[in-house]
């Protein structure tokens, strides 16, 4: 064969440049049938027998779809396709099931809470409000501030302590690590009411302090700490040892190597740790009820007097039992949900790695 030089020019990407995603007609037809037939049979059964939706979902829809999935796999790929088809059905069904559950929880909160939601509901407090007062006045502003204050005080303790614990567990070879890790695991299994009872009996019953926001914060600390410490530990452990060694080989003392190389590399994981810690305690009700009295007015002093929090507010207003008070409780639940959502979104943006930002700027 004669040797020759090829001149290469770039050509446009063809329409189908991913041959591995090509599906034959058999795959397409059997997939559609797997979805359509069980759904149709399910709908007809519900229509004619008046069967319960959930019961029908598991006794009619799921078995039928499993059968169809197995058949579709066999029809498309032969024997090896059977397990493939079955697993695909199970995976999709369960994911969809969980997604529907989550969506229905979110939907019911949004639906029931929306009635109470209005601008004044966010910033007003509850001083002139009883269970029967109409939704035109009163709000959860005081409870939002109370939640921020109590969780904030807990964070002041748990974030530095949790990260320090994670550093101890990952950066040292001390013999005490096993004990600390066991303790953390035990702490993360601690029922929140026990934490509340502990503060209640040690500090309040003994007369050392009255009910106050600070007591609530103290009761949240043991709940938040293990989450922060363990997630931070995992993220620090994921930082390659090469990086730390590189810093040490340049003559860095280990504390500088940690603060300038390891910690920035674990930044998004650390932020996640703090977030999960907040998420763990922001909705806690039991420790709050045991250590704080619910105030109707705004109280910014955590050392003295009652202070409202969103979970405490929800608990109280559900108990009052009037339609408007229940609507208020749903509204507060919706506010809590939005609050957590904003927090998560903000933290995700703040912790997105620097390199990604620079890339997109180019």
């Amino acid at each position: 064969m004669e040797a020759r030089l090829n001149n290469v020019t770039a050509v446009e990407r063809p329409k189908n440049a991913q041959p591995w995603t090509n599906m034959g007609p058999r795959v397409r037809i059997s997939s559609i049938l797997t979805i359509v037939i069980p759904a149709a049979v399910f709908a007809l059964t519900l229509l004619f027998t008046g069967m319960d939706f959930m019961a029908g979902l598991f006794t009619v829809f799921l078995p039928l779809q499993l059968l169809m999935g197995g058949w579709a796999g066999f029809y498309s790929f032969g024997k090896r396709g059977i397990t493939d088809g079955l697993l695909l059905v199970v995976t999709f069904f369960l994911s969809l099931f969980v997604f529907v559950l989550l969506a229905s929880v979110l939907w019911s909160v949004i639906q029931s809470g929306f009635a109470a939601l209005s601008p004044h509901f966010i910033y007003q407090n509850n001083v002139y409000v009883s269970g029967k007062t109409g939704l035109e006045i009163g709000g959860v502003g005081h409870a939002i501030l109370g939640t921020i204050i109590t969780v904030g005080i807990s964070m002041l303790v748990t974030v530095p302590l949790g990260i320090a614990t994670a550093v101890y567990l990952t950066e040292t070879r001390d013999f005490g690590r096993g004990i600390v890790r066991t303790l953390l695991q035990a702490m993360s299994a601690l029922p929140s009411v026990v934490s509340g009872l502990f503060i209640y009996s040690m500090l309040i019953l003994s007369g050392w302090s009255g009910y106050s926001g600070l007591m609530g914060s103290l009761a949240l600390i043991p709940l938040m700490l293990p989450t922060v410490a363990r997630v931070a530990e995992e993220s620090l452990r994921l930082v390659p040892k090469d990086l730390r060694n590189g810093a040490l080989a340049l003559g860095a003392p280990s504390y500088r190597a940690f603060f300038m190389v390891t910690l920035p590399a674990a930044q998004s994981g650390i932020v996640t740790a703090v977030l999960l810690g907040i998420a763990r305690v922001i909705g806690e009700t039991a420790p709050i009820l045991l250590t704080m009295t619910l105030a109707n007015g705004t109280n910014l002093n955590p050392l003295e007097g009652g202070m409202a929090t969103l979970p405490g507010y929800i608990f109280n207003y559900i108990l009052l039992g009037d339609p408007t008070s229940i609507a208020r409780a749903w509204g507060a639940a919706l506010v809590l949900l939005i609050f957590v959502g904003i927090l998560f979104a903000a933290a995700r943006i703040a912790s997105s790695p620097k390199k990604a930002k620079k890339r997109s700027a180019k």
Binding site: D242, G246, A247, L250, G251, A252, A257, K354, K355
Partner: protein
């Protein structure tokens, strides 16, 4: 006092109870490149890590012997390992630029990491990248993230990062094993330029590389569960063209290892 810049005396290393290096006595003269060769698992990398006290960071590590830098034992009671690592820089097998820093920040990271502030940091960046022969490639993108560089550029960035600390000795643990021939050649050229101003010790699996760049060569070997040791140490030409030990002869000619 010895005439050698860096010298080891009866270096022994253990991991747990396992003896992995036995009585290594090597001398590294000023402004020379010394290559450490030998099959995998013979303790070359372990040995090179004892030279700047990175060895002790491994859990269960044990050490006996002396490592003399300008006649001073770096394992002495009063010696801070941090000072040792400033004087004796190290480049690792896998490029490990700091991913959260830009190219420029990586070069001067050593200063920041050891808490030194210098007003001429900008000049130092240029100078160090020049010495690592990559200034022209990156001068227009100094603020880009270091991990946007290719593997070979990342490794030269790591060399530049070590050079910015102005070390007396540079240790290189298979610096080219993950790189293409072009990058390898550039790093070898860099090494030959650098030896004018420092002492270099390099671990390599590439026999041609050892012959191209080194003045002396030490052949390490660990036979049948015995600790690793130096079989032969001498001028590079002698090791490759007139080895005294038959095992060295077999290894450099590719018959085992």
């Amino acid at each position: 006092m010895a005439n050698f810049h860096l010298e080891t005396k009866d270096v022994n290393v253990w991991f747990g109870a396992r003896h992995v290096l036995s009585n290594v006595n090597l001398q590294f003269p000023q402004n020379e490149v010394t290559a450490l060769i030998g099959p995998s698992g013979c303790g070359k990398s372990t040995f090179i890590r004892t030279l700047n006290r990175m060895h002790e960071l491994i859990p269960g590590a044990g050490f006996a012997g002396e490592v003399l830098l300008d006649g001073q034992d770096i394992y002495g009671q009063a010696v801070d390992p941090v000072d040792v690592r400033v004087k004796i820089g190290m480049v690792f097998q896998k490029p490990n630029p700091f991913p959260t820093m830009s190219i420029k920040e990586n070069v001067i990271s050593g200063l920041k990491l050891s808490g030194i502030s210098r007003p001429d940091a900008g000049d130092l960046v240029e100078q160090s990248l020049m010495r690592a022969s990559m200034w022209n490639e990156v001068k227009d993108r100094l603020n880009d993230p270091a991990i946007s560089l290719s593997g070979g550029q990342q490794q030269r960035l790591c060399i530049a990062r070590s050079l910015a600390m102005n070390p007396n000795v540079l240790l290189m643990d298979e610096p080219c094993s993950a790189l293409d021939p072009g990058s390898t050649r550039r790093i070898e050229e860099t090494i030959l330029e650098l030896k004018e101003s420092m002492t270099i010790v390099i671990v390599t699996h590439n026999m041609q590389q050892a012959q191209r760049i080194s003045d002396s060569t030490a052949f390490f070997l660990a036979e049948d569960n015995t600790p690793g040791h130096v079989v032969e140490f001498g001028k590079t030409e002698q090791i490759f063209y007139g080895p005294i030990d038959p095992r060295t002869n077999e290894y450099v000619n590719g018959r085992f290892g």
